[in-house]
């Protein structure tokens, strides 16, 4: 038994380990095995499947509001069938449109790309890749999922209240979100949104603290910090970002709840709404934006870092070549994590922010481009002179880099306050963050799912469907978002559901139609992916070797279907870094293999 196991605080896990040794059976009920499970792998899958359900809902919302954008004034009777009053006559009402936009953003950013992405892979990968039997606290880990589930239920319930879900945009700026008089979505829907987010933050904190303590304390023998696979480093920085920034959003949400329900004036001052003079004075609407973006910007990296880490890993495995510049990759992630806290006000250049303060944020924001550039060039060099296998995971990893480049470069426009004056809150911003944060992170998530699916379920996903999924999605993503930059350059503000009343903005009718049609196709292909996912869980081709990709990391030393505790015998000891591919003429050298006496140094 390894030393790591002796210091393990969870005696129950050791017990499981013994069970496996004797090939004994767990006497677990269905509930304790699949529902209230404390096995990190099951919890990871729970996050993933909940995330997929949310992705379908959030994605469907985008299809609905794209229908309005592509075909304003056109009647779709089916919408009235499903949404009744909110789409009377088959036309999406403005309030409903804004609810769809708001929920699309909230769901995708928080429920899919935060919980669904880092919740899934932090839970699944951390113990497997560092050589631990489970998380530091499996119980808190389970609570983390169930808080997320509760948050999900409340958010979902807000879709069904009489006045509709929140409609103030996913940023939920007051006073719009603080005053029920400002719109239907600002009534009970916003209270539910805030409560749901508060629970979500609790979930995220429970998970994050667990990830950090597990990575720091529970690595197997020989697994020094600089021998950690890059996904683990990425998930570590992600967890640190979340733990330090989510509480700030919690405070913002709670204060907003106070303003809404208890008559406080944190964010309210000098307001006359619909002819009604409100008594609140002395609050600052801008204060909320500081609180929001102090989370909001790190949130972008909470979404992006896990994708970066997994892409680095998958790219190295499938290029059959070490990741180029491991320490530089690590250093750049560290730099991004630090800078992520120092750039939030670039979302606020045109709020009347002090121009000197603005200039400091310009400097810090554009600084982030340096570590990002390092990462891109290192990925390119990883491909250079490799021997590339285009598994579906690898395709998505390459797609991620392409999207990260495209979206990252447009960030240089927006981070520069001078240009931001013109582009702020236009379709350019929509195009930028969808490419760099939305689609790119989604690609990272797809790469991770296709790559680790054999480890999750002991089966492969269908590769042909995977190839179709990849090619349609990347072509579709560029068709949707690339021309959208031009709309932004024309000054078209975001969240305009009908531009026919404008002289300056009404010249893109055909483009909007094209984007809508492509959106529907891309959405259909995602449904195909989901079908492939669930079909393959039960009917996929079975994995026959424990290391199907020929990878070096520890998760591939477990049995094909690892039980709770992961390794039936002792936890393996680690002797080298995780990227010895193509070294000394060997295809790959697992981390568990001791360094040979005549092995070349790197």
């Amino acid at each position: 038994m390894s030393e790591a196991l002796h210091i393990h605080p969870e005696s129950t896990v050791v017990g499981h380990h013994d069970d496996h040794n004797g090939h004994g059976h767990h006497h677990q009920s269905f509930v304790s095995k699949y529902v209230f499970s404390m096995d990190h792998k099951t919890i990871g899958k729970q996050f993933l499947i909940t995330g997929i359900v949310w992705a379908v809902i959030g994605g469907l919302f985008s299809v609905l509001f794209r229908l309005q954008l592509g075909f304003p004034g056109q009647e779709f009777p089916i919408l009235e069938t499903f949404f009744g009053e909110r789409a009377a006559g088959g036309l999406i009402k403005p309030e409903f449109y804004y609810s769809l936009v708001t929920m699309h953003g909230t769901v995708l950013v928080f429920f899919v790309l935060t919980a669904g992405l880092s919740g899934t892979f932090a839970n699944f990968l951390i113990p497997l890749q560092i050589g631990a039997r489970d998380m530091a606290s499996p119980f808190l880990n389970m609570l983390s999922y169930w808080f997320f589930f509760l948050a999900s239920v409340i958010m979902l319930s807000s879709l069904f209240v009489q006045t509709g879900p929140a409609s103030g945009g996913w940023t939920m700026y007051p006073p719009l979100s603080a005053l029920g008089q400002a719109g239907d979505g600002s009534k009970i829907g916003t209270d539910l949104w805030l409560i749901s987010m508060a629970l979500f933050i609790v979930s995220s904190l429970l998970g994050g603290l667990n990830y950090i303590s597990t990575i720091l304390n529970m690595r197997t023998k020989g697994m020094s910090m600089t021998r950690l696979p890059l996904p683990i480093w990425a998930l570590f920085f992600t967890a640190v970002l979340g733990v330090l920034s989510f509480p700030v959003l919690l405070s913002g949400a709670i204060l907003l709840l106070f303003d809404r329900n208890l008559g406080t004036s944190f964010f309210l001052s000098d307001i006359v709404i619909n002819g009604e003079v409100l008594p609140n004075e002395g609050g600052s609407a801008i204060l909320y934006q500081h609180l929001f973006w102090f989370l909001g910007h790190p949130e972008v990296y909470i979404i992006l870092l896990p994708a970066m880490g997994m892409v680095s890993e998958i790219m190295s495995v499938n290029s059959r070549k070490p990741i180029f510049g491991y320490m530089a990759m690590l250093g750049s992630m560290f730099a991004i994590a630090i800078l992520a806290f120092l750039v939030w006000a670039h979302h606020m250049f045109v709020t009347g922010l002090n121009p000197f303060l603005g200039s400091v944020f310009v400097l810090l924001t554009l600084l982030i481009a340096v570590p990002s550039a390092i990462k891109v060039f290192n990925w390119l060099t990883t491909l250079w002179r490799g021997n590339i296998r285009f598994t579906v995971g690898m395709l998505f990893a390459i797609g991620f880099v392409s999207l990260f480049i495209s979206g990252g470069l447009t960030g240089i426009f927006l981070g520069n306050s001078t240009i931001d004056i013109h582009l702020h809150d236009t379709m350019f911003v929509v195009a930028h963050f969808h490419i760099v944060m939305g689609v790119a992170s989604m690609f990272g998530m797809f790469a991770g799912i296709y790559h680790w699916f054999p480890k999750m379920y002991g089966r492969y996903m269908n590769a042909t469907l995977g190839y179709i999924h990849f090619w349609v999605t990347i072509i579709g993503a560029y068709l949707i978002f690339w021309p959208m930059h031009y709309q932004g350059l024309a000054g078209i503000p975001r969240r305009y559901l009908d531009k026919s009343g404008w002289h300056s903005f009404n010249q893109f009718g055909d483009l909007d139609k094209m984007i809508t049609v492509v959106t529907i196709v891309v959405f259909a292909v995602q449904l195909m992916f989901i079908f492939n996912f669930f079909y393959s869980i039960f009917k996929g081709r079975k994995v026959t070797s424990s290391n199907p990709w020929g990878a070096t990391t520890l998760e591939w030393t477990t049995p094909i279907n690892p039980g709770h505790g992961n390794w039936p015998g002792e936890i393996p000891e680690v002797h080298r870094w995780p990227y010895d591919y193509g070294k000394d003429g060997r295809e790959y050298i697992p981390q568990t293999e001791p360094v040979g006496s005549n092995e070349s140094k790197h």
Binding site: I78, L176, R389, H422, G501
Partner: protein, 358 residues
Amino acid sequence: MQTFFIIAILALGFIVTFQIAKASEYVAILRGEERSRKQSNKINGFLMLVFLIVGLVGVVYCNEQLKDKILHEAYSNHGKDIDTMLYATIAITGFVFFLTQIGLFWFAYKYQESDNRKAYYFPHNNKLELIWTVIPAIVLTIMVGFGIFYWFRITGDAPKDAMVVEVVGSQFKWEYRYPGEDGILGKKYYKEIDDTKSNPLGQLWDDPANHDDIYGSGELHLVVNRPVKLVIGAKDVIHDVGLPHFRMKMDAVPGTPTTMWFTPTKTTKQVREETGDPEFVFEISCDQMCGRGHYSMRGTIVVETQEEYDAWMAGQKPQYLVANPQPEATPATQVADSTKGTVKTLSPATTGDAKGTH
């Protein structure tokens, strides 16, 4: 019916795709997994190259199609600076874009799996990494430098001779106030806002500076080549004064006045003649989500010569006279004045303090 048709086609396409995908998996097993894996590797490698070429052509094609649809020249002094910075950034990022995307997909194509090649063990190279740390850092420093230079020029104090206009947003309209002959916007307090008393902006009538202030809504009048400073506020929720033709933008925040200045460089009439578009009009868009009518919160601007502006202004009646048809102070307003006196000094929103935002 049409919807049903579309769904049916999608479902059919899906079933066919799935059957083909399933069959291809069986075929792969029959023919030997290694062989079919290598074959699909070749296909995907080739598609990488195709995607690169089609993508590059697509980028150029998209630009050809859309470049004339984005706004014409900038019609303000700051707008010209912003466009310069914008096009310089497009050039620099465009270069990096083509360099890295071509590198990415070309490497993917060129180094696809081959039995004749072994991957090159290349874990790190300090010199290379230093190069691509230092070069982006230098280029970005230059861009930050120019960006901040323009930024301070744009956000700096308005020239002394600038005219001042107040812009107030509310769900879902824009209202304006011109300071009149004295050049001073009179004080106001939000609790005085009352449309039924013809006081839509909450002006305090005991401030003499208010007596000549002109109120307007919908259409804003500006003078060509004369700097204008907008004092911006909102009554209910956050709005944003977006001026795409001038490339300017500033939030309108209830309780916290903001300012923005620029100089329009062409009159509406001139632009109409130059673009051959008789309908052309400068528009004010709301750029900050403000509720169900956000997308329709539109104002317009007429940029005209000083003479035209003076002629228009001469036809306007101060809001004081609209709200108080008999300007002689009655006892009733005297009483109101004494209460407002204290209120006024407490209010942070009185326009006199508005310049404090910078």
